[in-house]
């Protein structure tokens, strides 16, 4: 699909993480799939490093 075709086609959106974006698009009638995502260990670098060592 080239860029012009993409921009002319109806929007089909997968939103990751920030639920507000999903609500806004949904309010405008745009179909959205919301992915419930958050950074590993809430973004805590020390815990992420520990989890990495523990195979998670």
């Amino acid at each position: 699909m080239d860029i012009d075709e993409l921009l002319r086609a109806p929007l089909r959106v997968v939103n990751v993480g920030l639920e507000r974006f999903t609500r806004d698009l949904h309010d405008q009638g745009v179909p959205v799939i919301e992915v419930d995502w958050s950074p590993s260990a809430g973004g805590d670098e020390r815990l992420r490093e520990l989890l990495s060592k523990l195979g998670s």
Binding site: S38, S40, A41, G42, L47, L50, L51, K53, L54, G55, S56
Partner: protein, 418 residues
């Protein structure tokens, strides 16, 4: 390499849970079967706690137990005695036992005896007293104590005799049926209570001499929709104890609350408790009560979630989602789906019809809890914050993430990953 070692240890843990064969074996006075339960020793719910740090219902229940045991002539003397250091307080979990809410266990109270026949270990828990003003919710007046005396003099011995005559009651099949009948075994035990009555009533009739006493016992048991809760807890304790102490295993073996702290134990770190302040349940209140009356989260009953029931099996029990103020069937399913994110396996023996008979989420992995930030969902009763009042509602509470972070750090040190 380390990751493989942990995965192997965790597989061993869930295989032990699945291989478990818990049986309700007997009912006996606590002092006869719980080793080390001496005079003036009080077992309570949750991790260790001193009298000074205890919440109102826990203090109230201890005072009631001191009067029940004859250590004090009234509640005022009992409080003075408890505060003087003359009583010893220990967690149920340190004595192979568990207890709902305040979880008080003392010498003369009858306890149900569970044996995990696959591993030979035993677990103990008191008999459920009923709803409302009862000792597990901090109730301690004469009505509460009279009921406990009747449980010790009549119900306990009769139940013990009947269960012995049956050679024990296997519990996994009852729970499997209960899940298909709308129970999650924490805040909804209607089906399993009925199934238990069905299992035990003929034996009670055969072994008891007096029809009047038999009728009173059957009325008491079948009139209490939560009677099976204590059985589910004892069963869960018997299933989880063989998982303790597996080298390299990051599976939770116990979650428990004393009304002040929430505590977690993990297989590889043995009997160490990882604690954080308990949270307030969010839920619905009985008429005349609201949030200002509520005590923070309390009880050993989270052993039910530890084994994959209760909040983890909410998909089986849409009615409970309404009872605890969590919504309806869709929300119940969402809670169970979230618990799959933090568990190691699905229990093939306990399945959920609403999820195409998927197994219950089993084996809480502390790594997954910390990684996802998804805290275990717990269905719970809510006690009044003051001693002597009793239950005021039911709701949902989350295990504090800080317990799991602390556990993860200690686990990492144990396996040499720091």
């Amino acid at each position: 390499m380390l990751a493989d070692r942990i995965e192997k240890a965790n597989r061993e843990a869930v295989e032990r849970i699945f291989a478990g064969d818990p049986v309700l074996l007997d009912v006996r006075p606590a002092a006869d079967v719980i080793a080390g339960l001496e005079d003036r020793v009080v077992l309570h719910a949750g991790p260790p706690i001193a009298w000074e740090a205890m919440c109102g219902p826990l203090r109230g229940a201890i005072a009631g137990a001191a009067v029940l045991e004859g250590w004090a002539k009234d509640l005022a003397e009992a409080e003075r005695l408890a505060g003087s250091g003359a009583l010893a307080f220990h967690p149920n979990h340190h004595f192979d036992a568990v207890g709902p809410m305040t979880g008080i266990t003392t010498r003369t109270m009858p306890v149900m005896v569970f044996e995990n026949r696959a591993f030979g270990n035993r677990a103990y828990i008191t008999v459920n007293e009923g709803l409302g003003k009862v000792m597990r919710f901090g109730g301690n007046d004469e009505e509460v104590l009279a009921r406990l005396r009747w449980i010790a003099s009549d119900l306990g011995p009769a139940m013990g005799q009947a269960i012995r005559s049956l050679g024990g009651i296997p519990l996994k099949p009852i729970v499997a049926k209960g899940l298909a009948m709308g129970d999650e075994m924490h805040q909804r035990n209607v089906a399993c209570t009925g199934l238990t009555v069905r299992a035990i009533a003929p034996a009670l009739a055969r072994t008891m001499g007096e029809a009047g006493k038999l009728a009173t016992i059957l009325e008491f048991v079948s009139g209490n929709d939560q009677f099976f809760l204590n059985i589910a807890m004892g069963m869960a304790k018997a299933l989880m104890d063989p998982v303790r102490g597996i080298e390299g295993c990051s599976i939770v073996t116990a979650m428990s609350r004393n009304g002040t702290d929430f505590g977690v134990r993990v297989s590889a770190t043995g009997d160490e408790w990882f604690t954080a302040p308990v949270e307030m349940p969010q839920g619905l209140y009985f008429p005349g009560f609201d949030e200002v009356d509520a005590n923070p989260d309390i009880g050993d009953s989270t052993i039910v979630e530890t084994v994959g029931l209760g909040g983890f099996a909410m998909a089986a029990a849409p009615a409970v989602a309404g009872f605890v103020g969590a919504g309806g069937a869709a929300e119940a399913i969402a809670h169970t789906r979230a618990m799959y994110e933090i568990t190691a396996a699905r229990n093939p023996a306990w399945t959920l019809p609403a999820l195409e008979f998927a197994g219950t989420p089993t084996g809480i992995d502390i790594r997954k809890v910390v990684e996802t930030g998804v805290a275990p969902t717990i269905n719970t009763g809510i006690a009044h914050r003051e001693a002597g009042v009793g239950q005021v509602g039911a709701g949902i509470v989350r295990a504090p993430l800080a317990c799991f972070v602390g556990a993860l750090e200690s686990f990492a040190a144990t396996v040499g990953a720091t």
